[in-house]
């Protein structure tokens, strides 16, 4: 009978059992039809020459939309090289100080440390450490290049447009940035409250970009795309965000209550620009996203004493990040879930409260959720003011359809997903304006790509010929058993960032709540990083199959077994590899005919396999992966 994994047919084996070993005296046939068939499904040796293979092993960097080289800057922090750590970030994500406070941090759930221990590395807050403790880095920043005669218009002054500007300025483009607001930064300035993101940090990092000779026209709302096009720009970048907050226009009492009902987005902007300075004592915030969290916390600082968040969905399903919810709860703001708003209650022409229908979530077998009324009496909550923070939309009233920029049924621009080019070749989109509301780091990542496209477009090149990432792979060996990185994983648990005194924070809307790590804490936290960019690199030719690596590996990653199809191989490892997202590293055939299979999932990058290898078949090699920008080699950081 054919065996399902070892490509041999044999008698005296139970049916295709992957555990049965081929044994002496067994009748083994190698050239049956089945065995030829099976041969084709053996796993091929991993192509480590493909930059994406090792990139994927660096979980955090891979998860970051801008692919910031996280372990590299964390090591620089541990080495007290804060300026270098900052510049590594700046090259990649343009706003390290801002992001170190506000990033949605998709890197952290991806962090390998979270798979071997309770919590991931505090990647985001380490970024802030680099920003807080750097020296004056301005002399090291690139300057605007000598003019190349091309002019680009940037509509909107948020992170997307600023990134395009930063990437194109050194190439000599003349950059005209238009924004309706009085200062640059887009939503980072108007929406994110100062107690999370101080103005000083914004001014500094936006300044670094604007100081590269950007011609900024603030307080200038662009009301016609055609008017911009008429100015004969070589290309136009639209980074105008998703500026419209959703309303609840049909709810009973909405119109009468209007004086005390505010759209969250607009209200936050009004607070930021100091048009609004107070709010009623009792405030209801509708919605469960991050905007709702910013609204309720801001209300607490503007005089709101009894502030509640009331949300339709169950607490666990809320869109807000877990830490944002925690921060709101910490400031004494209850979150009431499974309540659907029904009416604004008006007495004597004035808003006195709201009623809500109570619901419960019911999930079908595909996990789709439906909110089903419980049939209970509607709940009434009294209030003086209501903030509606239930979502955000794109709106492009200023782009005439006659310009050739087409929009889809949802009102979003029709774009090439890679080049971000619109249906009009000289118009590009990025950030929230491109695919709907996301976050800062996504806007930055798209800004980089748009800048590349604009440069290719302006130089008459093929937009689909994207530049390959810049990768290197260098051995970290310093002596027989010595590595150039701290290979031994530390056992410290994740540190929490200290907070400002709550009473003081609630009195001052501008007082930053998070104090950031001090340098001792930063070192301890930095040392928690497992250095996933230092790759385990295997050379089959020199392996003598002594098993030393398998035996020493603390997390049982390395196996020497018969090859087979991937699904089957995954079940036959010392610890079955059940995470399909995590790659298997497979060697070519070894002397004994077996292959080396390493499950990348929980490798600690401790280097013990390489230390115990007598023939240096394993080496620990640092892998760098840099997304190539419109201006390559923006920075030199050793």
């Amino acid at each position: 009978m054919p065996c399902n994994f070892c490509i041999l047919s044999a008698t005296a084996m139970d049916s295709g059992c992957a555990l049965t070993k081929t044994s002496l005296g067994m009748d083994v046939y190698r050239r049956t039809l089945d065995s030829w068939f099976m041969r084709g499904v053996e796993l091929k040796p991993t192509n480590t020459g493909d930059p994406e293979y090792f990139h994927k092993v660096v979980d955090c960097q891979y998860a970051c939309p801008a692919h910031t080289p996280v372990p590299q800057y964390i090591r620089l922090i541990a080495q007290q090289r804060y300026s270098d750590a900052y510049l590594v970030n700046w090259e990649s994500n343009v706003f390290p100080g801002i992001l170190g406070r506000t990033c949605d941090r998709p890197c952290e759930p991806a962090c390998r440390r979270g798979r071997v221990e309770e919590e991931p590395v505090a990647i985001c807050r380490l970024k802030r450490v680099a920003a807080d403790f750097k020296d004056d880095i301005t002399p090291r920043l690139p300057k605007a290049g000598p003019g190349n005669g091309k002019k680009i218009a940037l509509i909107g002054g948020g992170p997307a447009s600023l990134t395009v500007a930063r990437d194109l300025a050194p190439l000599g483009y003349e950059l005209h940035l238009y924004d309706a607001q009085a200062k640059g930064g887009g939503f980072m300035r108007s929406e994110i409250p100062s107690f999370r993101l101080p103005e000083k940090v914004l001014d500094e990092e936006i300044g670094y970009v604007l100081d590269m000779g950007i011609k900024a026209r603030f307080d200038t709302y662009v009301d016609s795309m055609q008017a911009i096009l008429d100015k004969h720009y070589d290309a136009v970048f639209v980074g105008s965000g998703a500026p419209r907050g959703r309303n609840l226009p049909d709810l009973s009492g909405r119109d009468t209550a209007d004086a005390n009902v505010h759209i969250g987005l607009d209200w936050l902007a009004n607070v930021a620009f100091e048009h609004v300075k107070t709010i009623g004592k009792r405030v209801i915030v509708l919605g469960g996203g991050n905007t709702a969290m910013d609204c309720c916390r801001t209300s607490r600082r503007l005089g709101g004493q009894d502030v509640k968040v009331i949300v339709r969905s169950p607490f666990e399903d809320m869109k807000a990040s877990p830490w944002e919810k925690e921060d709101a709860l910490h400031e004494g703001i209850p979150i009431i879930d499974n309540h659907v708003p029904r009416t604004f209650v008006i007495e004597d022409g004035k808003l006195t409260g709201m009623t809500f229908e109570k619901v419960k979530p019911v999930y079908d077998k595909d996990g789709h959720r439906e909110l089903v009324p419980t049939g209970e009496e509607p709940a009434f909550y009294p209030c003086d003011d209501v903030l509606i923070a239930i979502g955000q939309q794109n709106a492009f009233p200023w782009i005439e359809r006659s310009t050739g920029v087409n929009f889809d049924a949802h009102g979003l621009p029709v774009l090439n997903k890679v080049t971000l080019q619109s249906t009009r070749p000289d118009v590009f989109f990025g950030g929230d304006a491109a695919f709907g509301p996301e976050n800062i780091i996504t806007a930055v990542a798209q800004g980089h790509q748009a800048a590349i496209s604009i440069d290719l477009y302006c130089t008459g090149k093929d937009l689909t010929a994207r530049p390959a990432p810049d990768v290197t792979l260098v051995s970290q060996k310093m002596g027989i058993h010595e590595w150039s990185y701290d290979s031994a994983p530390t056992e410290d648990l994740r540190l929490t960032v200290p907070l400002a005194d709550l009473d003081r924070a609630l009195e001052d809307r501008k007082l930053e709540v998070e104090l950031g790590f001090d340098l001792d804490a930063a070192f301890v936290e930095a040392e928690r990083c497992l250095n996933c960019d230092v790759q385990t690199v295997f050379t089959a030719d020199t392996c003598i199959e002594c098993d030393a690596c398998t035996d020493i590996c603390p997390t049982s990653c390395i196996n020497f077994i018969a090859n087979g199809p991937e699904d089957d191989l995954r079940t036959r490892l010392a610890v079955p590899a059940i995470e399909p997202e995590q790659a298997l590293y497979v060697s070519g055939p070894l002397e004994t005919g077996r292959v080396m299979v390493k499950d990348e999932d929980v490798c600690l990058h401790c280097g013990l396999c390489a230390e115990r290898c007598p023939t240096a078949a394993w080496d620990m090699m640092r892998f760098t992966y840099s997304v190539t920008k419109a201006t390559p080699n923006l920075m030199e950081v050793g």
Binding site: L24, V116, P489, E545, D551, S556, P576, I578, E611
Partner: protein, 349 residues
């Protein structure tokens, strides 16, 4: 150089019947040379104890001197251990086994420790059938003292210095069979599929279980011309695969008639000798000697279970000692008093 093995383990490590993971059987990080065969044996012992679900605190490790004898530090960090002087582990093991017959004893020795300085002691372990597993990590040299030829080095094997060995080597497995050992096996450090079940069977065996394990010294005896390098061992290996099914485990694999030969141990565990022609009779002492000899003549290294007498009587039984371990007997049991003495004396009148 790392001196500590990180504490992190795979979050989905399987557990055994006691709820332990294999990590619970780890020892300190090894200080042997990278790639030393001895480390693989350590791992095989660790894995075997895990798979057989032995309680770490019911195991005692004993050893002599040599790189091989350092091994017990590197596995079973929660077990008892005694690192004796060179070649004298057998006396310590004999005494310990008599004092507490309920522990599982694992002796680890080298070819120097056993076949040279310890030969006089070793032979008496066999003769007395002390209930223990005795593993020789056989690298054909004195690794710890920088690679001198040992007494088991093959005739003609070239040392690292370039000299061919002028003497015939002592074959410890043949010696053990000849001397009446009740369990004799041979294996290779690079063949855990065979070594692990052999160690598990040896630990289940009632009596002296000897395993001679070819274990290349990667630093002093892994060059061309050495007969005990990884390459040479693999080239000449003639492995008889085995499977071990402990008594309480349900039998997973079934072997078709005539393809294997099952041997049942005293406690009901079964060793399957997976040699299809079933020609190898592990209970035939003379046959075992002949098989080893003829393999040697063909320059094959015959590995597997070479000989087993499942009905052997270990030292404690032979001496008819109390079934309770001696170290548990208190003053009242050991010194039953004048009344008892009187009654004994009475019986002698």
């Amino acid at each position: 150089m790392s001196f500590i093995k990180p504490k992190f383990r795979h979050p989905r490590l399987p557990t055994n019947a006691l709820g332990f993971t294999v990590a619970d059987y780890d020892g300190a990080i090894s200080t042997l040379c990278a790639g030393c065969g001895h480390d693989s044996i350590s791992a095989a012992i660790r894995n075997a104890c895990f798979k057989s679900a032995l309680e770490p605190h019911r195991i005692a490790k004993v050893s002599g001197i040599g790189c091989s004898s350092k091994m017990p530090t590197y596995f079973l960090g929660r077990s008892h251990g005694f690192n004796s002087v060179h070649g004298r582990m057998p006396s310590v093991a004999t005494g310990a086994s008599l004092a507490n017959r309920n522990l599982t004893y694992i002796g680890v020795s080298g070819d120097g420790d056993t076949a040279s300085i310890g030969m006089g002691q070793f032979i008496h372990l066999i003769r007395r059938n002390v209930n223990m597993t005795y593993i020789v990590a056989n690298n054909g040299c004195y690794g710890l003292t920088k690679g001198q030829d040992s007494a088991t080095a093959d005739l003609g094997s070239v040392s690292k210095g370039g000299a061919a060995n002028p003497f015939d080597g002592i074959d410890l497995a043949s010696l053990a069979v000849l001397q009446g050992a009740s369990f004799v096996a041979r294996s290779f450090s690079g063949d855990k599929d065979q070594l692990e079940p052999l160690i598990r069977a040896a630990m289940a065996h009632d009596g002296f279980a000897f395993i001679d394990v070819v274990s290349p010294c990667v630093t002093f005896n892994n060059h061309a011309g050495s007969t005990r390098s990884y390459g040479s061992t693999r080239d000449h290996l003639d492995a008889m695969p085995v499977d071990f099914v402990p008594v309480r485990e349900e039998i997973r694999a079934e072997y078709a008639e005539g393809t294997s030969h099952a041997v049942t141990l005293h406690d009901g565990s079964v060793i399957h000798l997976l040699k299809a022609d079933a020609g190898y009779a592990a209970d035939d002492r003379t046959g075992a000697l002949t098989a080893i000899r003829s393999a040697q003549q063909d320059r094959r290294i015959l590995t597997g279970l070479l000989f087993l007498d499942p009905n052997s009587r270990d030292l404690n039984d032979t001496l008819e000692l109390a079934s309770r371990p001696l170290n548990e007997l208190g003053k009242d049991e050991l010194c039953p008093g004048s009344k008892m003495l009187d009654s004994i004396n009475e019986g002698l009148r």
